[in-house]
Structure formats: C-alpha cells, structure tokens
C-alpha cells in the first residue's frame, strides 16, 4: 500500500497508509466525536482543515446523503486509525474519493492528537511519499503556500453566493433571516420547523438589505476561520442590534461578541467533539453539547449590558452571551447538533419566543 504522511509545520511527521485523493494542506485539528464523520466532513466550519478523528474506526456505518450538513465536503483531508474498506462496504472512502478529499489511515492518531494538544492547532500537509524525507520535502512548499495566503475571510469562501428563500413549516411562525457564514443544514431544519419563512443571506449582506425583507429576527450562523478576518459582518450586526432579535451560533456568537464590543482570541487547540459540558448560568442546567471552534470570546473584553450566560465547564471559557436591551443572545456551541447531543435544541424555541415577545 502507498505510504501516506502527515507533516506538521512544527516538524512532526506521522506515517500511515495513503488511501485516496491528492496531496493536501490545511489546519490540522482533531475531533473526539465517536460518530458523525459525514456530518463533520460536510460542515462548512471545517473548511480548510484536515480532520483527525480520535475514535479509531471510521466509516463503519456507510454513508447517507441525508446526513449532509451543506452542499459539499469542506474538509481538506480525513485521518483516522482505521477507515472502513471491505468488499461489502467502503462507502465512506468512496465518498471521500469522489469529493477529492484525501484520506490516510494506519497512522498513530493518538500520538498525533497529543502533539496537537501540546503544540496547538497548526498547519500540516498530507502527502503520499516513499520516504519521510520525500514527504517533508513535498510538504514544505504546501505548508508555505498555505501560510502565505494569510488571514483570509473563510466565511466568505463557503457562504452562499446568493440569498435563498426557504419555506417554513409553521404558517403562523416568524420570518427569520439567516446570515450564512457557513451555515449547517440542521440550523435551517431547526428553523424551518418553527418558522413561516427563512431567508438565507450571503455572509457580506448589508443590514439594509436584510431589513428590507423585514424579518422578525436574524440568526447568525456558524462558519470557519478567525472571526477577526470576517469582513462586513460585524458592521452589519452592529446596525441590526436593537432593531431585530438576534441569535448567534459559534462563528455567529463570536461575531455578535465583536459587534457588542468584545474581543476574540484563538484557543490552543480548540474544542471539537460531542461531549463538552456547558452550564447555563441562569438556570443552573448543565448539558452536553456539540462543539467545533478554534476561537472564543474573551470574557474580560465584555462590558456594559453584555452578560455571560453559558460557560464551558472544561476550560471555563465563555460559551454564551446575551444583551437584554439589544434583544440578542448567542452560544459558542451547536444547539443544532449533527453530530452530537440534541440537549440544547430548546435554544431555537427561545429564539422564537424572543422574536414573538
């Protein structure tokens, strides 16, 4: 079998089996979810990233287009200890292959995860090579190219190019505008259940454009990359603040935080998984959440009317904020799950209530 290597910018090199696809480069991140490889690969928030799955066996239960969280696969590469390929079922590998996503298995993912935990999220390259030396050589240029791109507005890469109208399931429900920074399909599914109409706008849509449609509220979606690099959105949100109820998720939460005057910072290796405990500071409830983020809001940067509503109990980072006067709230985690627990889906109801109040 062809050898496949993952080379980290810090110099770490990991050898495994090259299964499908072409050499690739991206930010290397790990995810602790046991399941949901197809949901993860199609989540636009993973744009530009090489996904290392902590759970060793992937692809076991095949594929299903209904699991897709967007129109395509966004990950740059897929790495696990053992990826399913038998005469009966190699659907997941085929799907990666069809979508041009390279895959490596048989490498020591535990060691790799610990390296990422210790060394932090970093750029890495997946290359097929005959030796470690060759792999390093091939990687250097890939990694350099990737870094030279600089800080890009990744949300703008993955967002819809045009606004899209979706019929809601609830005739009497509110109208919701969604700012798509890389919106997961399940956010829309959750909204559709509760609303009469949903309009999904590209990431750089202006406030006036949105207000023209006169929605009852605005949802700021999840999305990839550094919130600092997202252009236009913070100004849009600032303008919408106070005019419309706003609910932010993940990137949407970080952007809302910035619009409210807060700052964001990069976490060492982020939170990616389906088992992160969050405490609702108002109700005292604790629930398991799905998470996927590399940045967080800096608590000390928040002021005025902004309250912290949720906290991550593992590292005590800010996981939810609100501003009552501005009728907005946001969470760092994913109430829409997919993958992960659905324990926080009541937040969508809360958003509907806010719009109807």
């Amino acid at each position: 079998m062809t050898q496949g290597y993952l080379v980290l910018e810090s110099g770490g090199i990991f050898k495994g089996n090259w299964l499908v696809g072409e050499n690739a480069v991206g930010e290397v991140v790990f995810n602790t979810s046991h399941n949901g490889y197809e949901e993860i690969a199609t989540d636009p928030s993973y744009y530009g990233q090489i996904m290392v799955m902590c759970a060793p066996q992937q692809g076991n239960y095949g594929v299903d287009k209904s699991f897709w969280e967007s129109r395509s696969l966004w990950i740059r590469g897929f790495i696990a200890l053992d990826i399913q390929r038998s005469p009966e079922n190699s659907q997941w590998l085929d799907r990666l292959s069809e979508n041009g996503v390279p895959a490596i298995d048989g490498l020591d993912t535990r060691k790799l995860v610990l390296a990422l935990r210790e060394g932090g999220t970093q750029v890495g390259a997946m290359v097929s090579a005959t030796s470690a030396e060759q792999a390093k050589e091939k990687s250097v240029s890939l990694i350099n190219q990737f870094k030279e791109q600089g800080n890009k507005d990744w949300a703008n890469e993955v967002t819809r190019k045009e606004a899209q109208r979706v019929q809601g399931a609830k005739g009497s429900g509110p109208k919701v505008a969604v700012l798509d920074f890389g919106c997961k399909e399940n956010i829309l599914r959750e909204l559709i259940k509760r609303t009469s109409e949903v309009m999904v706008y590209p990431a750089r849509t202006s406030a006036s454009e949105i207000l023209k449609w006169n929605p009852d509220g605005v949802l700021l979606s999840n999305g990839p990359g550094d919130p600092e690099n997202v252009e236009v959105a913070v100004d849009t949100i600032k303008e919408l603040l106070g005019q419309k109820p706003i609910f932010g998720i993940c990137m949407g939460h970080q952007l809302l935080g910035r619009a409210l005057g807060g700052k964001t910072f990069k976490l060492k290796f982020g939170h990616r998984g389906a088992n992160h405990p969050i405490k609702d500071l108002q109700s005292g409830e604790v629930f398991m959440t799905s998470q996927n983020h590399g940045y967080a809001i800096d608590q000390d940067s928040l002021s005025g009317n902004v309250e912290v509503t949720h906290r991550n109990l593992n590292d005590k980072t800010v996981s939810g904020i609100r501003s009552l006067p501005d009728r907005c709230f946001s969470v760092q985690f994913h109430p829409e799950s997919h993958p992960g627990p659905r324990d926080a889906d009541a937040l969508f109801d809360q958003f509907v209530e806010l719009m109807q109040s």
């Binding site: 197809e38 060691k111 995860v113 998984g273 088992n275 604790v286 398991m288």
Partner: protein, 1057 residues
C-alpha cells in the same frame, strides 16, 4: 447544590454470595461507593454476607456487618445503627429487592430511614414490566408486544396471540433467572411453569421475540438538577436472543449512524425522566432491527450493574463512586473527573480505543448441561480487553480467557453457526477458513455484517501469515491485528519464544496507551494503561520500589473474587511498606482493576507474552504470583526463564508441591500420610493397583470431568465390573485414576504464612461435609467443632513443619483429612487460597498482609506476631456455599470432587448453631419452620440420622420417606408416611416434591445406581427451591440451624468491635 448535610450515617447493601448474574462487579461498585462516602466524612455501615469481598474488609466502611441480606437481620442492624439513609442501588438485584422489602414491610418508616439512590416507586416503575411499558408508551418509545402472565392457563392463551418464538421473562429475578426463548408449544409449557415458580411474584412477561436484532446498552447517569450523560454505549456482538451477560460486547457501539445513536440517546433521557430517577446511574437496553431500523426498549435497571462496572473500566468513569456522591446531594459538575483531575464529571467519555468483553462459561463443570446460550444468563465471569481497533481488542480478549490463543482452529460444524453457544465464535472464524461467504455466515448467525467483516479480516491476515515469509512488516501487521505470539508461531510452525525473539530484534514492541476518558483531549495523570501495536513504546521512569502483582483473570468456578480480595489487600500492604505497585489483570468486574487501587494498572491478558511485555516496560524489583490463584502461579516457569525476580517461594517449592511423588517424599517424616493412589489403563493394572491402595477406593476415568462415572469400589468384584462397564472410557492415553477413599474422614483446611525466620497459622477450618466433597463446595467452620484439641495441635505443628520443609516463603494452604486419628494430606498449594479472606475476617488475622511481609523479607523482630492468634477468636464462623444448579437444568446437584459452587457466604455467631443458621440463610437455603420433610436414607445413615428425624418431629414437622427409610423410622418409634420411589410407580416421591407438599429433603445415597435413581429427587428440589441435604453431617448441621431459627434468639455483630 452541594452535599445534603442531613445524611450522616448510611447503610450500603451488598449483593451477597457470588452467583451467576451477580458477581464481583458489585464488590467493585460497593467498595467504590463506601470509599467515596467515607472520604466525605459519612459513617458508612456496610452489610454483606459474602466474606470474599474487599468491601467487607474492616478498612473499607466504618462498620461492616457480615450478616444475611434478609429483612429480619437488617431490622436488627438498623435498630442498632439508627442510620439516616439506606442505599439499595449498589448491590445488584439482591439489594434492590431487599430495599423494597424493607420499605414494604414498614421497617424503613419505623426507624425513619430514607431510601436514597432510588425510591421504591422508581424501582417499581423500572422493574415492573407493565408499569415500565406504559411509561415507554408515554414517551413515545417502542417495546415488544408482550403480556404479563400470572397463571399457566392464561399463559397458553397469550402465546397463541403472540406467536412463536416467544421470550419468557419472570419478574424480579436476577440474571434473567427462569427465563428463556421457547420455539414450540411443548417447550413453552415447560418453561412457563418453571418461570412462574421462579418469579417471587409469580409473574412472567411473555414477549414477542426479537431474535436476530442488534442489541445495545447505554450506561447513563443523571444528577438531581437534571444533568444527563451517557457514560458508555455498548454494542453486542451476539444479536438479541442471548442474555447480555452471556454476549460478547463491544464499547463504544460501532454500527449505529450518528442520527440513530442520537435518537437512542434522546430516548434514554426521556425514559430516565419518565421513570423519575432523580439521580444515579442506570442502564437501558435497546434492540434495533437491522433491516427496518425499528428500535425497541428491552429493559432498564435503575442501579449500577454488571454493565456499569464494565462501562467504568472501559471509560475510566467511576459510575458507582459518582452514583454514591449524587445520592448524597452532589451534582455532576461539582465532582472532579478523577482521571484528568482538571475537568468536571459532567461529560460523556470519548474513547480512542475499542473495548471487548467476552464472558467465561463453565459448562464443563455441569455434566449433562447443554452449551446453549439464551435469555437466561449462564456465564460465571468475564474478561475485558482494550485495543486500538476491534481486531486487536477482540483477539486480546480471546487470549484473556486463558484457554485460547486467539481464533483456535476447530472442527467445522455448520449447524453450530445457527444456535448461540460459548463455542460459536470459533465456528464463525472456522466458517471463513472453510471459505463460506460472509452473507451465508450472516444468514446463519444473524451477527451484524460489520462484526463478521472484522472476523473475516482476521482470518485473511491469518492466511497471509501462514502463506508468506514472516517479514517484520507482516509481523507488525499481525500484532496490530491482535495475533498472539503463540498463534503466529502455530501458523509458522515454530514456537512462541522465537516469535518473541524476532519481535524484540525488530523492535516490534507494544506501546502502552492511557485510558484517559477524553480521547487525548486533556492531559491526564492516571496511570491506567493498555497495550497496542499501533503506538510505539514509551519508556516509563525506572523505580527500585516497583512491585508487580499479577491478578487472577476472569472469575471461574474455583477461582473467583477471593483471589481479587487477596490481590487488592496485597496492593495496599505493599503501598503501606512504601512500594509502588503495578497491577496486571483482565477482569473488569474486580476491585483490583479499579484505576485507583494500584499505582499503575495494566489491563492485559494474563498470558506469558503480555505479562512479560508489561514487565519489560515497568522493570519491577519483583513480581508477586501468590495472590491471584492458579493463574499467576502457572506463569512461574516462563517468568523465571525470562529472568524475572519472583517474590516469595521459589519455583522449586512450587514444583515440588505440584509433583505428587516428590511431594509424598517431603511429607515423609512430618507426620502426614499421603493417600495411596495409582493409575490404571486396564483391569489387570487396576487389580495390582488396588492391592497397593486397599479397599475402599475411588475410580474415575481421567478425561471425564465433574466427577462423572466416579464410583466408590468396595471389593475386587466391583472393580472388575467397573472396568468392564467403562472399558470404552479407559485406555493408556486416558487412564483411570484410583485413589484410596477416606470414607467418613473429617476434612481440614489450614492456611500458613511463613517468613524468613517466622511462621504462623492463619486458622484451621473444619469441613462440615465428609471427605469426597470438593473443599470449595463444602461448608466449613472455624474454630473446629469436632476435632480433638491434641489432633488440632498436631495439625498446626505438622503444617508449620511442612512449610519449612518445602521452604515456603509467603503463603501455604494445606488440605488434610483426618480418619481414625490418622492425618492424611490431600494437597498443599504454595499460594493464597480460597479460604484466606474468610479466615482473615473470621479470625481477624490479616493473612495477606503477613504474606506480603514474608515475601518482602520482613523479619520476626519487626512483626508483632503475638497479635495474630486465630485461637483467640470469640465468635464461630461458618462458611456457606452457593450453587448454580438452577441455571443448568440437566445437571445433577450431587457434590463430588469437582468444584461446582460459584460463591460463598459467612455466618458469624456467638455459637455454632447461630453461625450455621446464618450461613444457611445467606446461601439461600430456606430453613423451613413447619411442614413435611421427605427422607430417603442409605442404610448406614439411618441410625445416624435417627436423632435428626426425632428432632424434626419434635419441631412439629411431619415426615415422609421411601419405604425402607419409613419402616426403619417407624420401627424406631418415629412416624413417617411411606412414599413410592420413582421406579415404584406413581404418585411417587418426585411427584410429591413437585406438587409443593415437601419443605425439606434429606437424601443420602451411595453407589452409582442409587445416585442415578435419586437424580430426579435432587433436580426437583433445585427446580422448586426445596432445600435438599445429601450428606449426614450437613443434615445434623441443618437441624442445629433450624432449632436456632425456631428459638428466634439470634443477634447481629459488626466486624469491628
């Protein structure tokens, strides 16, 4: 919300003797809970009748009562202790049922004791099928079509409505006792009658079968503020139809899609809320139709369980400990994750490995029983293993069973694929060797495709190994696939040592990865490891204070929880002496495999390869082999050959003890006689052997297990007849064992500890049954009741002399028989014995601690040996035994030289009768207070048992008996109704027992024919839970106990006084 302050003193109920369906997992959970609550400053009162447990060690709880887990004893304990609360959720079904009874009978109310962990209402709504099914419907969960049957006739009607196959589940039984799958009406009728008898409430749920569906289990927890977490998902390799305790299981689940899994998780949460479990742990079992994906809920247990122990070991999440803390008011986010020490306990463990559990069976012990798996649990233990992939994990688990080196080749029998058995697994692998298509194997076994693919991959790799040169790459591939060195050697026609050498030369060595609860996301300090060839070895800092203890592996009949007690106690003693202790074991049910028992835990198969691999890495100062029973001892040659320093007795000592002729020589001059024995492969050899041995003697063919065809031979004529009758079973390769039979001898168990300049008797246990019954199956008493004191002194003196002559350092267990003032030595084992924990608690001699001090070379001057004098004990303790005959309907319950009991109990009393009474009660022998006693006595016992019969009449019993017995009693002035023997026509004695008219049976027999004739008597007693005494001394003991019970004068005593 922090701890509720009003709980200052709580009672924790244990689970009693080890039985099938309730094993040492409850020692693990109870011990964890006790430790957690004690460290919270609570006064913890522990009640358990099982002395072989760690939880009943005086160090674990504030006060320990080794007393029967029965209402009247608990009431006395509650009256003395006046606790604030009682936790019934940590001791399995036994504790749960007892808790319910204490509530129902008003005892809890009377003494103002609160039930915490689960309320009676919650227990009922989870355990009562009708209530539970109604709750399921409320939350939109599905369940199988079923109906509660309360009488036989109704049951027949229900079966017609549901259609076959049908599952029977008696209410409130443990391990699915009395349940099963019926495929036909005939089968169903028999099973229904049994099941109705088995359920304490005479209720049987008759249910639509979901045979062949995928089976899952979620281990969940909830705190009182509603935080809900799934600790572990478990998937069964065997599809529905096999009791989950008998199934091979995998964690985490492998074949559900994300949405299917989340649907299941959501449903579990709703069910927990509906049942109303406020806080604690529970497990919920599901079945999923692989075709339609339809999901049904099978059952829920609102308590810690066997699976929660497994889940704790599989994930590093200490469910029982957390459950105990939640019960006293804590919330999950207020409790730290023990493993990471940086994150809270409100999380769902993420695993970056695969865990396999394989149950261990004991069909060979129960001759006549069928190796068939169904909804009634039959396994006696289990192994767990961890690997990075399913294949690695699975093959390690196969090796952990200690009788397989992987997928051993077997003679292919296609028919075996379609009915679940303990051997089916090997047939599945063989099917792939034979070239069967996966689809066909799937059709026959109904095992999920994914699992079958994995097994097929293993066989493909096996063939690759066999057919190709063993390059380093191929060897690494084999190791990553979980192949043992032995298996690779078999495939290459070489020995395992050369594979080991090759591995070492090529640097193909296992890495040891941490079980850290979080798949590597957070740094973790807890040294809980498993081996894998998917990672490179990382050196561990050297230490000259490091000692390794090798555990005892899976529970089996003859080697169970008592050895885990020894290991755990050993760890603690070594730690006290300043050593760093490494534990190696493969049994997930145990305290020894709790990550906080030892300083380092390696969850590994206990075979030479894996043990040496660990030793290579940890590089200990010494290894302790004496604590884990026969398993570690059998490694001694390989370890010594590898240059490993073995602590205590040398290999030479161990060898001599095991070699009959060398051992006989050692015993010469000590004052012990060795029973004469011989081997004969034909009648001619037998008669010369018999001349040497003398009559009576015992004959048994060597390859027949379980004492079958064992006969006592009285003379030359009988010997000749025996050899002609069993000629087919006896040959030079399968000779017949012939042993001197010490008829009526008194058997004695002695445990000795010897140090470099000191030795000590731990205690002397006198068996209650006569010689011939395996020491593990015999009841015993300390201090001895019948042994004259001069003989006792001689025994002690001789045992110490034997220990010296054998040059024992550490433990020595000696089994003796006394007959006509002669002392016969039956065997000596230079290791901790089954009786060590019993003795430690009965006589208050910390035998394991002393053994460790002996092995570590502590001198007499540094010990206060005078403290440890078993003769100073001021109570009488009786060891009771528990048998699993109910689970093996075809097996005979007569006792013999093969051990059959699964567990033991202890009765502690101020006198012999009180101790006996408690031991019987704890062993679930009902002591009837009135009614009818049926007697069938062999000639020589009639006179002996006449006083017993008289006593029974005095107690108000009526007697019935076989004609011979009845007329003997009548002639001696005792009224007895004559009843027909089975072959004399109906209605006969078995009809009488089965009709429920008999409350106690005393049935002593000898000779094969009589044994066979009386089989149906014993079997009917087992089926109808009628105590059946088969030996005269036991009958006398039972009388003593019954008299005591009738008097009502008994007390309860804490261990710490």
């Amino acid at each position: 919300m922090p701890r509720i302050e009003k709980y200052k003193k709580v009672i924790i109920l244990g689970s009693g003797p080890i039985v099938i369906g309730q094993a040492c997992e409850f020692d693990y959970s109870g011990t964890q809970a006790c430790k957690a609550l004690v460290s919270e400053g609570l006064e913890v009162i522990l009640v358990n009748s099982n002395p072989a447990t760690i939880m009943t060690d005086p160090d674990i709880a504030s006060r320990v009562y080794i007393e029967p887990l029965e209402k009247e004893f608990l009431e006395k304990i509650i009256a003395i202790e006046k606790p604030d609360a009682i936790i019934p959720t940590l001791g399995g079904q036994t504790a749960l049922n007892l808790g319910l009874e204490l509530d129902r009978t008003g005892i809890l109310k009377k003494y103002n004791v609160e039930m915490i962990g689960a309320t009676p209402e919650i227990i009922k709504s989870a355990e009562d099928r009708e209530i539970f099914n109604q709750l399921l419907r409320q939350v939109g969960a599905k369940h199988t079509r079923s109906q509660m049957v309360r009488e036989f006739k109704q049951g027949l009607q229900v079966a017609e409505e549901i259609g076959f196959p049908i599952i029977l589940r008696p209410n409130y039984t443990l391990g699915g006792g009395g349940g099963g799958v019926a495929f036909s009406k005939e089968e169903y009728e028999g099973m229904l009658a049994r099941a109705l008898g088995e359920s304490p409430t005479s209720e049987v749920l008759v249910e639509e079968s979901i045979l062949g569906w995928k089976e899952y289990e979620l281990e969940v927890m909830r705190d009182s503020s509603g935080t809900f977490v799934v600790i572990c998902s478990i998937e069964n390799f065997d599809p529905c139809g096999v009791h989950t305790g008998d199934s091979i299981t995998i964690a985490p689940q492998q074949t559900l899609s994300e949405s299917e899994y989340q649907d299941m998780r959501d449903e579990a949460r709703k069910i927990l809320d509906a049942v109303g479990l406020e806080c604690g742990g529970a497990n919920i079992q599901f079945a999923v139709d692989p075709k339609t994906k339809k999901r049904v809920v099978i059952e829920m247990n609102p308590r810690v369980s066997r699976s929660s122990a497994l889940a704790s070991k599989a994930t590093g999440f200490p469910i029982a400990k957390i459950a105990a803390l939640l019960a006293i008011g804590y919330q999950l986010d207020e409790i730290q994750n023990d493993i990471t020490k940086s994150t809270p306990s409100c999380y769902e463990p993420a695993l970056d490995y695969v865990v396999t559990k394989i149950p261990r069976f004991a069909f060979e012990k129960f001759i006549g029983s069928k190796d068939e798996l169904s909804t009634q649990m039959k396994s006696v233990g289990e192994v767990m293993s961890i690997g990075r992939t399913f294949k690695e994990s699975f093959q390690k688990a196969l090796c952990s069973q200690e009788f397989a080196d992987g997928f051993t080749e077997v003679e292919f029998d296609k028919a075996m694929l379609s009915s679940p058995s303990s051997q089916r697994l090997y047939q599945v692998a063989q099917a792939f060797r034979e070239g069967l298509e996966l689809s066909e194997v799937e059709r026959l076994t109904m095992i999920n495709t994914w699992f079958l693919e994995q097994v097929r991959d293993i066989i493909v790799t096996e063939q690759k190994i066999a057919q190709n040169e063993l390059s380093p790459e191929l060897l690494l591939e084999a190791k990553r696939c979980g192949f043992s060195d032995i298996r690779v050697a078999q495939l290459k026609g070489t020995d395992s040592q050369s594979i080991r050498s090759l591995r070492k030369k090529e640097g193909i060595l296992p890495g040891y990865l941490q079980v850290d609860t979080c798949a590597g996301e957070f740094a973790s300090e807890t040294p809980y490891f498993y081996s894998t060839y998917w990672s490179e070895p990382v050196a561990i800092p050297a230490s000259d204070k490091r000692i390794v203890i090798i555990g005892s592996g899976p529970n089996r009949i003859g080697q169970g929880i008592e050895f885990d007690y020894c290991c755990v106690r050993g760890v603690k003693q070594l730690q006290k002496m300043g050593y760093e202790v490494v534990m190696i074991n493969s049994n997930p049910e145990t305290v020894s495999t709790d990550y906080d028992t030892s300083d380092q835990l390696y969850f590994e198969p206990l075979n030479t390869e894996r043990v040496l691999d660990v030793l290579d890495v940890v590089n200990p100062k010494g290894v302790v082999l004496q604590l884990g029973g026969q398993t570690p001892l059998s490694l001694v040659h390989d370890l010594v050959a590898a240059g490993i320093p073995v602590l205590g007795s040398s290999m030479e000592t161990i060898d001599i003890a095991e070699d009959r002729s060398r051992f006989s020589k050692v015993c010469e001059g000590i004052g012990f006689e060795v029973p004469v024995s011989g081997l004969a492969s034909d009648a001619r050899q037998a008669s010369s052997c018999a001349e040497l041995i003398g009559y009576p003697l015992i004959c048994r063919p060597s390859y027949v297990l379980g004492g079958r065809r064992m006969e006592v031979i009285e003379n030359q004529e009988e010997l000749a007849r025996y050899f002609s009758k069993y000629a087919a079973d006896i040959s030079p390769s399968t000779p017949c064992f012939m042993d001197q039979f010490l008829e009526g001898a008194l058997e004695i168990d002695v445990d000795v500890v010897r140090g470099k300049d000191w030795s000590l008797i731990g205690g002397v246990i006198e068996h209650i049954e006569a010689a011939g019954v395996h020491s593990g199956d015999s009841m015993g008493v300390i201090p001895p009741q019948r042994l004259p004191s001069d003989l006792l002194q001689e025994i002690e003196k001789n045992c110490l002399a034997l220990a010296e002559k054998l040059d024992v350092i550490g433990h020595l267990n000696v089994q003796l028989a006394v007959k006509d003032d002669h002392l016969y030595i039956i065997e000596a084992n230079p290791r901790c014995s089954r009786t060590v924990p019993f003795l430690a608690k009965a006589a208050n001699v910390p035998l394991v601690d002393l053994g460790i001090q002996a092995m570590m070379g502590v001198a007499a001057t540094d010990l206060d040996l005078a403290l440890y004098d078993w003769r100073k004990m001021n109570v009488v303790c009786v060891k009771g035994v528990v048998f699993p005959f109910k689970k093996f309907p075809e097996a005979d319950s007569i006792l013999g030289p093969e051990m059959k009991s699964t567990g033991e109990s202890m009765g502690r009393g101020s006198d012999y009768s009180e101790a006996l009474m408690k031991a019987f009660i704890s062993s679930k022998v009902k002591l009837p207070e009135n009614g009818e006693v049926f007697l069938s006595l062999r000639e020589k016992d009639k006179k002996v048992l006449l006083p017993v019969a008289q006593n029974l009449v005095d107690l108000g019993f009526t007697l019935s008996g076989t004609s011979g017995t009845a007329s003997f009693l009548y002639e001696n002035g005792v009224d007895c109704i004559p009843v027909k023997k089975v072959h004399e026509g109906r209605p006969h004695c078995v009809d009488r027992i089965r009709s429920g008219r008999v409350d106690l049976v005393i049935n002593t027999t000898s000779g094969r024919e009589a044994l066979e004739a009386s089989f149906s008597i014993r079997r009917s007693c087992t089926d109808f839970a009628v105590p059946c005494i088969t030996e005269d001394h036991a009958a006398e003991a039972l009388m003593l106990a019954m008299n005591k019970k009738k008097s009502g004068l008994f007390e309860v005593y804490p261990l710490q006084q």
